[in-house]
Amino acid sequence: MNIFSEIYGTYFRIAAKLLGNKVTDEKTVRETVKHEGFRDSVLFLPQKLIPGGEDWGLFRRGENNTLCRITKKAPVKVLTKLQKMWLKAKLSDPRIRLFMDDETLRALDKRLSDTEPLYRREQFRFIDRFSDSDDFYDEKYIKNFRIVLEAVKNRKIVYIEFVSGHGKRMSGKFALLKMEYSPKNDKFRVYCYLLRNDRIRSSGIINIGRITNIIDTGRFFRTPVSMEEYFSGRKCSSPAVIKVTTERNGVERFMLEFASYEKHTVRDLETGQYTVKLWYDTQDETEMLIRLLSFGPVIEIMGPQQLREQAKRRIERQAELLEKYREEE
């Protein structure tokens, strides 16, 4: 019982798809492999499916050069024990309540009554997760979450009242695009466009936990939306440029911690130092800055100038504070 098994593999999945039809043809085989396979699968997989000496024998040639499956029915997709154990483990996760009501959860639990969970929640410990996570047991939160999810799925326009991060009461009509979850914050948010007269006024992100009222307007946002455009509109105009030294295992620590960012790295052969360009959402600039500063002198923010200036101000203030309180002692 291992997830690294061919029964979950891409080749098996492609074969299953093609065996879904009694009859197929070479063109369909090649196109399916191209769309569903890895980049190079077209070089290796078609000859295993199409009769010709090297094949697995899952198809035989029919009339008019068609390919007929040797099986009688479309393949059945049986869940494995591992998959059911995983599902069972998720039943103990409070976040599943956001998606399924109590009655459905009870029915699923009953269906999985003979299955052991793959893990117990207490076998894991999140050591640095923030403590003010969303309350996934709160009925109001669950209700709001479901309205948001429905609006995202169907691109509905919703009216939302919420409290901003700065404590301001805000409201408006929004087109909701996608949801976001942060394991660090253990919070859900939703990417949105604020609308005025049905036109996009600005992009934004709303914390589900900060929504005080949400109403489905019953209308749909029909303007095509590109998430790439949405993200690029929020991206920094120029990347943070960071020099990372080898001191205190800095390179590995830095690369791992900032692995979730889009980045470009260049290594200086003589010094072993790396210069890393990091692209980030402008709204997350402070978060990134404080994480960079926590590396101390192991790294240096080389640019852009305004980011470096912010670091400089914080460091100067830090030195002043230490001086001031040392004097008071």
């Binding site: 019982m1 291992n2 997830i3 690294f4 979950y8 080749y11 074969a15 798809k17 890895f38 024998g57 099986t71 009688k72 393949p75 059945v76 049986v78 494995t80 591992l82 998959q83 059911k84 998720k90 976040r95 998606f99 399924m100 459905t104 029915a107 699923l108 893990y119 207490e122 894991f124 410990r125 999140f126 050591i127 640095d128 403590s131 003010d132 999810l149 995202v152 979850y181 942060s182 394991p183 998430m227 690369m255 791992l256 692995a259 979730s260 980045k263 470009h264 052969l269 790396y274 404080i290 500063l293 926590s294 101390g296 002198p297 670091a311 400089k312 914080r314 460091i315 504070l321 309180y325």
Partner: protein, 424 residues
């Protein structure tokens, strides 16, 4: 590249390469001096094939460097799941998979002999009994086929639990799968269910997303089951530092597993365990770990677990310090400056990020965090995210305090006034 296969037998080897490409972001062929040129070429080709548009190439005097550049907060599916979907197999494996499930789809149970006769008569396929028996046994272990004795004979039938039935019967499960397939723990398994139904996550993005973690998931089930069975585990660790020094053999570890520790900020996951030989707790990075094997039952598991529960409450991160588990902890006090009127968000930050420490107001605009933790170094890495706010540091060790003062002083010089010539 004759003999190249997209599929892999050995997951560990691939883990190493993907990690190097992903984490370091600039590797050229000569950096992989531990491996042959052919191996490097094959592994690179596989990673390219899985990662598609996320690969990046840069030419330098040292050669073409290859890296993976993913903004993992803005992707609907972890591309590294492809590594799991690349397991190699034999011709018999795939044939028997589709043929046996095709025969058993009617819900009837059959003996081995009946199955093999059907394979022969209806599908014109000849297999020896042992091959079919092995495959049936394998699928019984996987839970896809149910084996029941009827008299003295074992009869096989297909499990009726299908992905289609589950998703159709339990409203909301499809959306839940979309979410859980991209989050911890074992998102890859959820993704495998989605793929059975040809569904894709089109609803969620994951911020602070360390997609590399999925490669370690292969190790965890054995560790979890060792915990459940109160057994020791044995594994080898290969740290980046030791590999760089040419130590390819790694270190063998025999430990009693306690808990998986997950850092959602540093991108690391660990196994917290008790080392009987040293009589102390320690945390082992999962990304440095290979070949986990379950060992003997640990007679005093519950007692060790109880000790662990007491100890872990003094870990700020994952370090148990260098003293034995009965040792003392080092109390430390860090005082932060925050104007209550204008900077309430700093106090909120302290409250939500303090972990096992306590925070109290100790003066005008001053808040003191008291830390009764094993390793003050871990605390200071976090405390430095408050640079510009730290008024006082007390306790801990002289070295830790001095290092902080030195760091501030070095950073002042680094970013210092008129000497600042580095600005781009």
């Amino acid at each position: 590249m004759a003999g190249f296969s997209e599929l892999i037998k050995n997951f560990d080897k691939t883990r190493d390469y993907v990690r190097d490409f992903f984490i370091y972001g600039c590797k050229v062929r000569s950096d992989f001096d531990r491996k042959s040129v052919r191996t490097y070429g094959d592994e690179k080709r596989r990673v390219e094939s899985w990662m598609g548009d996320y690969m990046r190439y840069d030419d330098s005097v040292r050669g073409r460097s290859v890296s993976i550049s993913v903004d993992s907060g803005h992707i609907p599916e972890n591309p590294l799941y492809n590594a799991y979907y690349s397991k190699s197999f034999t011709d018999n494996d795939i044939k028997l998979h589709f043929l046996l499930t095709d025969i058993l789809q009617d819900g009837k149970s059959r003996t081995l002999r009946e199955l093999n006769d059907t394979l022969n008569s209806e599908y014109e396929q000849l297999f020896d009994d042992q091959t079919v028996r092995n495959k049936l046994r394998e699928y019984v272990d996987e839970g896809m086929i149910i084996a029941e004795k009827q008299g003295k004979t074992l009869c096989y039938s297909l499990s009726s639990d299908t992905a289609d039935d589950f998703i159709n019967s339990f409203r909301g499960l499809d959306d839940a799968l979309k979410f859980f397939s991209e989050t911890q723990h074992f998102g890859i398994i959820g993704n495998s269910i989605l793929k059975m139904r040809r569904l894709k996550n089109d609803l969620f993005f994951i911020k602070h997303n360390y997609i590399i973690h999925t490669l370690e998931d292969i190790l965890i089930p054995d560790i979890l089951s060792a915990m459940d069975e109160k057994r020791c585990v044995c594994f080898r660790t290969f740290s980046a530092k030791r590999l760089k020094e040419g130590d390819l053999s790694g270190t063998e570890n025999n430990v009693i597993p306690m808990q998986i520790l997950v850092s959602v900020q540093t991108g690391r996951r660990y196994l917290a365990a008790y080392i009987p030989g040293l009589k102390r707790f320690s945390a082992f990075r999962l990304d440095y770990m290979k070949t986990v094997k379950k060992g003997d039952i640990c007679e005093n598991y519950d007692a060790v677990r109880a000790k662990f529960s007491r100890n872990i409450s003094h870990c700020f991160g994952v370090s148990f310090g260098m003293r034995k588990e009965t040792g003392t902890v080092t109390p430390m006090k860090i005082t932060f400056f925050a104007d209550e009127e204008k900077e309430g968000y700093i106090i909120e930050r302290l409250e939500r990020e303090k972990r096992c420490c306590s925070v109290e107001k100790t003066g005008e605009h001053l808040y003191t965090l008291t830390a009764d933790v094993f390793d003050p170094n871990e605390l200071m890495h976090w405390a430095k995210t408050f640079i510009g706010r730290i008024a006082r540091i007390e306790g801990g060790t002289d070295t830790v305090r001095q290092r902080f003062y030195n760091d501030v002083s070095r950073m002042q010089k680094m970013y210092g006034g008129d000497e600042d010539e580095h600005i781009q």
